[in-house]
Amino acid sequence: MEYKSIIGVSGPLMVVDKVKNVCYNEVVEIETSTGERKTGQVLDAMLDKAVVQVFEGTSGLDTKNTKARFLGETMHIAVSQDMLGRIFDGAGRPRDKMPEIVPEDRLDINGYPMNPTAREFPREFIQTGISAIDCMNTLVRGQKLPIFSGAGLPHNELAAQIARQAKVLGKEEEFAVVFAAMGITAGESSFFRKDFERTGALERIVSFINLADDPTIERIITPRLALTTAEYLAFEKGMNVLVIMTDFTNYCEALREISSAREEVPGRRGYPGYLYTDLSMSYERAGRIRGKKGTITQIPILTMPGDDITHPIPDLTGYITEGQIVLSRQLHRKGIYPPIDVLPCLSRLMNQGIGPGKTREDHKDVSNQLYAAYAEGRDLRDLVAVVGEEALTERDQKFLEFAERFESEFTNQDPDEDRTIEETLSIGWDLLSVLPERDLKRVSPKWIEKYHPKNKKKEQ
């Protein structure tokens, strides 16, 4: 059904009058008077009126000649296994000058919530080769673990390194990667492309790229397209999919723009009250389904405005995701890569993915002990600033030394360094041997006997 009865255009929204039988969330095709085509979606369906959000922006629309066609269905994406190796724009059109794909299926991009009884709990260790993640905040298959970063921090390098090195021990198959970019710069985009090319990973990657100068509102659908593709690859084609989405802050800005154009009651800092629900619709699409081979692991990246972890975007994200990896400007300034500050980091699914048969029997204890000792060392640093190092007891000085070495030897590693979990744990033990043995309260005596460097030397 085609209408020329557009009665209002404001911000990203367009109001069409005298419409009949418009569905909520229906797709709208728009043709401007110059013949330009745009896509939109119904946000508010009334008896004779519909409010439509226009993904490509509303410039060029007029209230006389612009035509709106309501397609009678919600937004779908054509999917196929051949999408691997291809690059699309933020709305799913080919960006690599290659032909459209031949669809194997057409899927609703909003998906449906996964039934909790159909889920299988994630418990397979993913080795990323990065000590601060593998040992301290273990990633498992089917988890959603975001990277909280700040402007100018090397989150892209870290994400690329994870995509490059991630593997499940004992299984040779590699991850398929779905990459969704929302409002990133051309420079960042080409960094990812080059990195994928350099490692020959390009043919197992599907990219959806919305650049900073692409239409803002299009960003709303980019993660949905990426996740629908990921669901298809994982649960229909049996692949293990890693979804990297950057930058969710831009996505939330786009959401706020629409909300304010609709004159909705704002929640915190002008973001809509339904930001939590909206974000969860993307994040909760990670996971695994009982009886199906594939998995979806998500690594969303977001930059915290003003490095503020209490800002609504990281805050609401942290309440939905299963942990977070936090990058620190302070560590970055010290020249440490990756600048992961382990203290505010967390992996909620870690306990199930580690231990004998998965990583190593002493993993849990070592990680806990490293945490406790590093936290104590960091506290002492503040104290030293006031009273000087001499005023500390011998015990405290050891903790201070431990904290320094933890950052420079354990956290710090080369962007191409792929540490096995064994290597990571043995660095951990080397560091722990700095401390008095009676302070290793979190480690079971069994493991001290077996793995403490002191006892290992004796063996030899």
Binding site: Y24, M114, P116, A118, T277, A375, V386, V387
Partner: protein, 579 residues
Amino acid sequence: MARIIRVAGPLVEADGMRGNRMHELVRVGDKNLIGEIIRLKGDVASIQVYEETSGLKPNEPVEGTGRPLSVELGPGVLKSIYDGIQRPLDLIQKQAGDYITKGIIVPPIDKEKKWDFVPTVKEGDKLEEGDIVGEIQETQVIKNKVMVPHGMKGRVENIYSGKFKVTDTVCVISDGGKRHEISSMQVWPVREPRPIKEKLESSIPLISGQRIFDTFFPLAKGGTAAIPGPFGSGKTVSQHQLAKWVDAQVIIYVGCGERGNEMTEVLEEFPHLFDPKNNLPLMERTCLIANTSNMPVAAREASVYTGITLAEYYRDMGYNAALMADSTSRWAEAMREISGRLEEMPGEEGYPAYLASRLAEFYERAGRVTCLGKDNREASASIIGAVSPPGGDFSEPVTQNTLRVTRVFWALDAKLADRRHFPAINWLTSYTLYTDDLKDWFAKNVGDDFNTMRVEAMTILQKESELEEIVQLVGPDALPARERVVLDVARMLREDFLQQNAFHEVDTYCSPKKQYKMLKTILKFYAHAMGAIDRGMEPEEISKVAVIDDIAKMKYVPEDKFEEEFNKMAKKMEEELKG
């Protein structure tokens, strides 16, 4: 005929609705989606829809059902897992596959299954509302009591025994000329509290086996508690620990707007966990309500009411029921979202002005009560609500309004969580208002001096925080000897008593008796150490005695060996600290 005139997100407006009632359940659109009327204006009704509204369009029909949003109560509720409006998720999966699609209608409790009904009354008995007419073994641990529904009374005309479906009549009573048929199933509107005879004082603690809760900030049976905390501080782990170990007979666990994988964890774990009291799977006493964050927001709003109604139902049978709601902030946000769509005037931070009264109404449904029925049975429903304050800032409206109506405050602290001190409950900011009510119980059942010991331990921790400010300025070496012992003992209290490992097979549950002995050991050490200082021993020497290592490990000593270990430690410290 009633028809849709507008669709915007989870909110639908329909006209031609004159005669339909506020909070009536309606069927919306061609797909028969479930909705509830939340505002009436002339013949236009605003309806919140409990399912995804994509694809719904104006002019589709709307049909009233004549009844409010209700739950079905009967045998079969326990061991179930429901969504926010009491639809069994396993049946949804059978019908719709791995994803929850739209327009699915499934029965909340199995109407075909036959249960063994054993009558407890005989013909001619005079019954009033709430009286028990018979019992059904619902699970291995819970006997479902079939009760005379609210508003009915009379003499037993017929009473049956044998195998019956939940809808079959098991008892007929006659009240004058009126005959009432009673089956084992009742229907109750979720937004209305189930009636009781009277509320009682809370004088029995709800024991959780978690030291920080039981010893320092106990909750009473029938009490209300709030656990607010920023993300990653261990709210969900605390809620899971409580759901596993509290000594209530029935647990209703509401996952309200939380993570899908967490619900799956509960689902996978509970059937394999055993109740320390009777050695039966914990699932035998549990009902789960899972409305994850990506499931429709209106059903999230309903889920806590569904949960408390189920808890009240088991309370009415005479059981101690406990409801865990994780998290009430998501519930409040659902209210905010719906209120925003209704274009109501917002209160603080966009929350509706009625946020405080809704929270108060909800928490008031907890309590220790005398149930309806001649036998005056006493029972309780406790509520433990997690709160997720944005940015961990407790001054936000949901936390503040919750604190006004709950009597226990377990404050989770991100700083403690960062250094892996779990449970990350801050001992200085948390409080309980039940201390006085529960004093007698603890003195009688745990130890005469338990209450004074608690105060003493608290004083040491309080003193530590004062001393820490000084240490920040002058370093620990500058403190006098006695103060350094206080710091050592406070550390002991924090690390060896308050920290509790939820994932350790022994430490995950600690009985009140063992808690008492553990605390006693530490305080004994404190007394001995102070004595040793007076006799001229140096703090460095004291911090090197071997018994400290034993104390550090005492939490891992199994309950049956604890008495022996406790005596050994007492002797050892006496010797080592002779001075």
